[in-house]
Subunit: 232 residues, 2 copies
């Protein structure tokens, strides 16, 4: 359960401000140290996401993670407690980012607006964080052995979206669909563009420099689900 930053007692202790020491000078020096540490931990996290995403939990080596982060192996182990815990921490970290990647609606938004916004948000995240996206896919495809203990928030957000879609159906705003499956389908299609970028590029016959036409993709994906709801 340890956070990336504080896996050892002494490190944890240092994080707390000493009592009765309000001078800004002292705190400035401490802040310098803390920020340096934060920088290193961020580098470790980025390196680990890369490694884990392309090799998996078992295939990834701490050696390689250290190298990517510009550290030596013992140095890395000074900041983390174990490979498994680092992996779990990173999964939780990404999962936390994903809380906002669910169907949500402000009052007054039409179903079409909600779907379009969701598709846009999800595709954009995948385009900007392909590694994180693939790390998740690999974990889930392998049976979610680690993630399994952490997707309570995931379920909660899902349930909320289910209720939203069901309310559309009940009000007769859209054609009837299974809310849960419908949501999973959106997830599947948008996720596809992040996880299978190579396949997409290949099937589109794109060169190394070229980028997929994300505008057209977004339109087409949104259209798929809007038509299914009978609102396009």
């Amino acid at each position: 359960m340890g956070s990336l930053a504080a896996h050892r007692l002494r490190v944890q202790a240092m994080t707390q401000q000493k009592a009765g020491n309000p001078e800004p000078q002292v705190s400035s020096a401490r802040d310098k140290v803390l920020e340096r540490r934060r920088t290193i931990l961020a580098a470790i996290r980025d390196a680990a996401i890369d490694e884990f995403a392309s090799k998996g939990l078992i295939g990834a080596s701490t050696q390689a993670i250290a190298q990517r982060a510009g550290l030596t192996k013992p140095q890395l182990h000074y900041y983390i407690s174990s490979k498994e815990e680092l992996y779990e921490d990173i999964l939780v970290y990404i999962l936390d980012e994903w809380r906002e990647l669910f169907l949500t609606a402000s009052t007054g938004d039409s179903p079409a607006e909600v779907i379009r916004a969701y598709v846009h948000k999800k595709l954009e995240y995948g385009r900007r964080n392909p590694k994180a996206s693939r790390l998740f896919t690999t974990e889930i495809a392998n049976g979610a052995p680690v993630l399994g203990r952490h997707w309570a928030p995931y379920q909660a957000s899902t349930l909320e979206a289910v209720r939203l879609i069901q309310s559309w159906v009940d009000q007769g705003l859209v054609r009837p669909v299974d809310p849960l499956l419908f949501q999973m389908h959106i997830w599947a299609v948008t996720q596809h563009y992040a996880d299978f970028e190579v396949q997409v590029r290949n099937m589109m016959h794109l060169g190394d420099g070229e980028e997929p036409d994300y505008e057209r993709i977004e339109k087409e994906v949104a259209s798929l689900f809007l038509r299914a709801l009978g609102i396009e």
Copy 2:
């Protein structure tokens, strides 16, 4: 490029029938040996699919593969030439099975029939071969470093399906869609049910013994794409 069966010259040599030796007796003895080998190779393949699917190329160990196949490690290495080649052979083997998993139509089939048949076929394969399905997903998600050299047939089948869908659009049988993206979307959704079974089960709140309602899933998935085409 070695096949699973013949990575060594002597093994390869034995596969060929001796010239001028047509007796069924002799060939029966030889056949016995050959069939035994075939059995072992099949066991290796199944074991390797399991291992590679859940650990990835790097994470999988020949030790574990041997154990799953009921062999010792040196015994396994007698039949395969290297872990990498075994992995590649298996990818090609699965890819070959997938040739039939594309949109195809006999003359006279309506678009709705074709889509429904495709969704059915694809979902069923995923349900019956989840490991092979996930092995592929992991490989592609990791940038298809090995598969990259082998998906020419894949591309060909894709192109055929693109032409088929485009012809529907041109004839005014369906609402206009991007044929390539449309096909990828079907692929993405159906693949999802194989690769993310854990997630699906979790979101459906299924116990260990319960199975997802594949009939409803199939109906809902087909409906999604039929509505997008304006034919439901």
